[in-house]
Subunit: 130 residues, 2 copies
DNA sequence: GGTGGTTTTGACAATCATTATCAATAAGCA
DNA sequence: TGCTTATTGATAATGATTGTCAAAACCACC
């Protein structure tokens, strides 16, 4: 029933490259990194692999303020959010239980069902604050 | 010092068209509406007017999940967030004091300064839930 | 009301990220 | 090994957004 999936070195390369980064990256820049590292991987493949990883839950994605799609290999399993340095990109994974509850409450209080939410905090990390 | 700004019927038309909508709209669709209404306004002008209104605080903007920039004329002054129906676009403005505090705490707990945050809740409104 | 200096507009080209196309390639399996 | 089919990748296509720049409009000021 479920779509069969094959293991290719390309998908593995994207997974690896992503896990070596500790910040959010765009498909474009990840592709550039891979190419710089000598890999002949195609751009479209990087896009497909990232989208796939995101769907499978192996990567998190968010929209940069400029509208670019950014991806990150996350270590925290399950639902969580991010605290991102807007200068250097340093990213910290955070859980936000109070926010989860709040979102639920606000949604149902207004008659909304099936709430999802986008919650990300941007700031300047300790190093970049100086 | 501050840049002088002139009043043109175009800027006014965009302001009006935006305030007549109670949901988030893209520059493209707002331009289409204006054109349909008989206005000969140019697309680039709509983009510029919306960006300008957003900067001046007369409009709020957010990125759709697809990466499009969406705008809305908000009635609630000051900082607030949105509860948006992902089906029909119905939007409710909400304040989120608990979230503001939480964001502050999380940021400083991790050494981050000048926290900003993106908080939006998507769901299905009462009508669309049926 | 007319005038001039500047801002703003708008048609169009240019960018840039992302997606579709589709023939060639490579997984996984009998 | 050979076959079936998912995947790849070069390239074209799409679509939103921004840059360009001459023409038009705005706004004091006369």
């Amino acid at each position: 029933m479920t779509a069969p999936k094959r293991n290719t070195w390309q998908r593995e390369a994207v997974r690896d490259a992503l896990s070596k980064r500790d910040d959010f990256v765009s498909a474009q820049s990840l592709h550039a990194s891979l190419r710089d590292g000598g890999s002949p991987i195609g751009l479209a493949t990087v896009y497909r692999a990232l989208a796939s990883l995101a769907v499978e839950g192996e990567a998190d994605s968010l929209q940069s303020p400029e509208g670019e799609a950014l991806y990150r290999a996350c270590t925290m399993s399950g639902h969580h959010h991010h605290l991102i340095c807007r200068n250097c990109g340093l990213t910290v994974e955070i859980s936000a239980d109070p926010v989860e509850e709040w979102a639920q409450q606000v949604a149902s209080a207004n008659g909304f069902t099936e709430p999802q939410h986008v919650v990300d905090v941007f700031g300047l990390c300790a190093s970049c604050s100086r």
